[in-house]
């Protein structure tokens, strides 16, 4: 039931299109977004086998410009933004002074030298405020450009083939995590080979007034190839199979990038200070107290966010994300478990070893610890 106290969620440029398609809409981080159009499992499978079309216009876009933009981001983020070549992108994070993750981000260095930082919808305002404060006096300006962009993603093995018919850009030259100013169906777009599904795919930043046309042209171009619109439910199960963290589940203020197994994004060898450096340098040296691991359930009951992980009957960790995996046909989960339990479970792992389990509403359901990701796309896709 809508809470009469909360403001109406913001509508993306594509909201009416989703409603016309009969989508189940949901309030996600203050935005009215499609959860699913029909069966979320069918949408998930379409992305794995053909292609899916996503509206991601709720994501926050922040533009950092000025002569000091690269240096300001080097100070504000854990990555080295100034080392990104124009037209390339990096996955990175913004951390608090204590090393806790404020958000995970993709930073695009644009052709002109400015940077586009893409933040999670739920954190966009916080990230904008932090970047503004951290850029102060460093020759850079931070502008929230979220309202100026619609973001459409096409993901799946047939994405490149479908998109190729709508753009003059030679997609075979667009590498993973590269971006180019392009024309898509005659409309200006920033075309990036990025995604959150574990498949090949593209994200298209377009003007809101062009979004409906671009969506429709992609829909028409992909129809024969099995392209379907896909909602946030499929996006979540796709990213979980691909072992990608979600802020609020695997990432948060009480987690460092090292806890999440993503210490590689922290560039301790970059020149100059950055927010969180001292705490993260300490953390990098210390032995890990907990590890983010993959679990595959041995029963059909599904581990969910917040459930306890058990080792020999004793709690040793907590599930951060869990879902039935359409691709594996079994329940999967990511969980933080104590380093000790992770080591024992890792060496003891075997089909008939039931010492590792998840407390699923009072019953210990055995699980197997597996390396992440759960799903890796076949070579050549």
């Amino acid at each position: 039931m809508p809470d009469p106290q909360s403001p109406a969620p913001r509508r993306t440029a594509l909201a009416a299109v989703h409603e016309g398609l009969g989508a189940t809409m949901t309030d996600f981080a203050g935005w009215l977004m499609p959860l699913r159009y029909g069966s979320e499992t069918a949408e998930h499978n379409a992305v794995r086998r053909a292609a899916g079309l996503f509206d991601l216009s709720h994501m926050g876009e922040l533009l950092i410009a000025g002569d000091g933009a690269g240096a300001a981001l080097d100070y504000a983020l854990v990555g080295e933004a100034s080392a990104i070549q124009p037209g390339r992108a990096r996955y990175t994070m913004i951390c608090a002074p204590d090393g806790g993750v404020i958000d995970d981000l993709i930073v695009y260095r644009l052709a002109g030298g400015a940077y586009l930082v893409v933040a999670n919808a739920s954190n966009a305002a916080t990230v904008a405020a932090e970047l503004t404060e951290r850029a102060d006096g460093r020759g850079a300006t931070v502008t929230d450009r979220t309202a100026d962009y619609a973001l459409i993603a096409i993901q799946g093995p047939r994405s490149a083939g479908i998109l190729a018919g709508l753009t003059d850009t030679d997609l075979s030259q667009v590498r993973y995590y590269a971006s180019y100013p392009a024309k898509v169906g005659g409309h200006d777009a920033l075309l990036a080979r990025t995604g959150y599904t574990g498949e090949d795919g593209f994200e298209l930043f377009v003007r809101p007034q062009d979004a409906v046309s671009v969506w429709q042209e992609l829909t028409d171009a992909g129809h024969a190839d099995g392209l379907v619109p896909a909602g946030l439910a499929a996006r979540d199960s796709l990213r979980l199979e691909a072992g990608m963290p979600l802020y609020g589940n695997e990432l948060g203020r009480d987690v460092t990038p090292f806890d999440a197994g993503l210490g590689r994004v922290v560039k301790l060898d970059k020149p100059g200070d950055f927010v969180g450096r001292a705490a993260l340098a300490e953390r990098a040296k210390a032995p890990a107290e907990r590890r983010l691991v993959g679990l595959v359930g041995k029963s059909r009951r599904v581990p969910r966010h917040g459930y306890s992980v058990l080792w020999e009957g004793e709690p040793c960790g907590t599930v951060t994300s869990g879902a039935p995996s359409p691709t594996l046909g079994r329940p999967i989960a990511m969980a933080y478990v104590s380093a000790g339990a992770a080591a024992e479970a890792g060496s003891a792992a075997g089909a008939d070893d039931d010492r590792l389990a998840v407390d699923i509403r009072g019953t210990a359901e055995p699980a197997e610890m597996v390396p992440l990701p759960f799903y890796k796309r076949p070579a050549g896709n």
Partner: protein, 129 residues
């Protein structure tokens, strides 16, 4: 949303079809839409005594898990054998092939107390929309 006239309902979104002192039980179209794709159902076992209002099973969907609340007092006589193989029947045909289990009613041919009519259930879901 479909709410067949001839069925009875619970506030927890189960439907009940009564004939020959037996209730056939499932979850409503409203419930299956709210849950999303159903992947697994735990139903009470044949022979089990069940009590109205008590949780007696679970429906797992992609996004969440929900209890099944028993709509009436009685004894479970049968569980739909198709559901284990094909839980998607709960989505595709919630009032037909997607039924979950049957109860021999303590109330016999009388409608068990506390159930809602289709009109009452419609009013309830309209409030929750």
């Amino acid at each position: 949303m479909s709410v067949p006239e001839e069925l009875y309902y619970t506030a927890e979104h189960e439907w009940v079809a009564i004939s020959d002192a037996t209730a056939r039980v499932g979850i409503t179209d409203y419930a299956q839409r709210a849950l999303g794709d159903v992947v697994y159902v735990t139903a009470p076992s044949p022979g089990a005594r069940v009590t109205a209002g008590d949780p007696c099973g679970e429906v797992e969907s992609t996004k969440s898990v929900s209890d099944i609340y028993c709509p009436a007092d009685g004894e479970v006589t049968e569980v739909n054998p198709e559901i284990d193989e094909d839980p998607g029947l709960v989505n595709s045909d919630p009032y037909g092939a997607g039924w979950l289990f049957k109860i021999k009613l303590d109330s016999g041919d009388q409608v068990p107390p506390g159930l809602l009519s289709a009109a009452e259930y419609n009013a309830l879901t309209a409030e929750q929309e």
